[in-house]
């Protein structure tokens, strides 16, 4: 569903410099809020990926180059795992993931039970978390408010 929201601009708001500054402030504000949400999805991780923001004329991009985060976000199909340096694989029998599909949060997770040794393991894969989709949906709805705030600051 497309949400249309009227952004009102004051009559005395005619200075192009002010408009440009408001647009840039809104883009920077939104990118800062989006970055916070990405960091929330990894708050309980031991090795947290870094998120960066790039700036172009009329856009901001929040991204990471972390491979693990990409796999968690995009999901994985079932696949076989073999030991590379040892003779056997070792893993614990109980596991609860720290994240859930579509949820902008991270939980404590759990690894426990008894150790299991195997020559190979059929990993069941995991559902895509789609953090980027969830965060984009959330802030696309709130973006008009951020723009309005940036415009209000100029008048």
């Amino acid at each position: 569903m497309v949400r249309i929201k009227v952004i009102k601009v004051s009559r005395d708001f005619l200075d192009p410099k002010k408009i440009k500054r408001a647009i840039n402030n809104a883009l920077d504000g939104a990118s800062l809020a989006v970055k916070v949400d990405f960091d929330v999805t990894t708050q309980t991780w031991k090795n947290r990926p870094g998120f960066e923001i790039t700036k172009t004329a009329n856009a901001r991009t929040v991204f990471t180059t972390d491979k693990i985060y990409t796999i968690v976000t995009r999901g994985a199909r079932p696949h076989w795992i073999y030991p590379r340096r040892a003779k056997a694989l070792r893993f614990m029998s109980k596991f609860r993931p720290k994240t859930k599909p579509g949820a902008i949060r991270s939980n404590a997770g759990f690894i426990g039970g008894v150790p299991i040794y195997a020559r190979r393991v059929r990993h069941p894969g995991h559902k895509a978390r789609d953090f980027d989709v969830a965060i984009a949906d959330k802030w696309a709805k709130k973006f008009p408010d951020i723009v309005q705030r940036a415009l209000d600051a100029e008048v």
């Binding site: 504000g29 939104a30 949060r105």
Partner: protein, 203 residues
């Protein structure tokens, strides 16, 4: 207790009173929705006035306060449908109804930080929603020049992950010359590339 807390307390009592009437069968869920939405709209305006430090609102201010509450009214409407479709009242519903009173923090902070292009207000986009106990602390460095240091302050131990992260990343956020300084920008990609390809700026 500050002015906002008093407003929230007063609104909570009024919302509870309306809920009581619904529970007694004196009003329908539709009437409950209308009365509660009216209360929210009225108190949102009062909260905005309090934040702005003024005793009157312009039509523009009223429109803004209404818009800021529109998200909450959507939640309230979904709640109305849930009540209508349920066979009986559930435990916790009254508290849920009363919690809408905390949503007037958003217009309050909108008024309080009107002149600043901040990325988000307390209770806006947080996991804790209206329970958010955070605040913006604004320190004017040179108000005339548009220089401010803005600190996201958590006032509760039980703040959510969003608030913890915001405190970490937005304490402070700098506004210099009216421009929100983005401390996480890696590079000015477009201008950087343009300069790298054409360092003299010639076409």
């Amino acid at each position: 207790m500050n002015g906002l807390d008093l407003l929230i307390k007063d609104l909570t009592n009024k919302i509870r009173a309306v809920w009581q009437r619904l529970q007694e069968g004196a009003i329908t869920p539709n009437q409950w929705y209308t009365l509660t939405a009216r209360l929210l709209a009225r108190y949102a305006q009062a909260a905005l006035m309090l934040g702005l430090g003024r005793e009157t609102l312009t039509p523009e201010d009223i429109r803004v306060s209404w818009e800021l509450m529109s998200g909450q009214l959507e939640y309230l409407d979904a709640f109305r449908l849930q009540i209508q479709n349920a066979a009986e009242f559930q435990a916790g519903w009254e508290s849920r109804a009363a919690s809408y009173a905390k949503a007037i923090k958003i217009p309050y902070w909108k008024g309080k930080t009107k002149m600043l292009p901040l990325p988000a207000m307390p209770a806006e986009g947080t996991q804790c929603l209206a329970n958010c106990g955070c605040e913006w602390e604004i320190i004017p460095i040179d108000a005339q020049a548009g220089d401010y240091d803005c600190y996201w302050r958590r006032n509760k131990d039980d703040s959510c992950q969003t608030c913890i992260e915001r405190e970490k990343q937005w304490s402070p956020l700098l506004i210099r010359g009216g421009v929100l300084v983005n401390p996480f920008v890696k590079e000015y990609l477009e201008t950087g590339l343009r300069q790298a390809k054409n360092p003299d700026g010639k076409n």
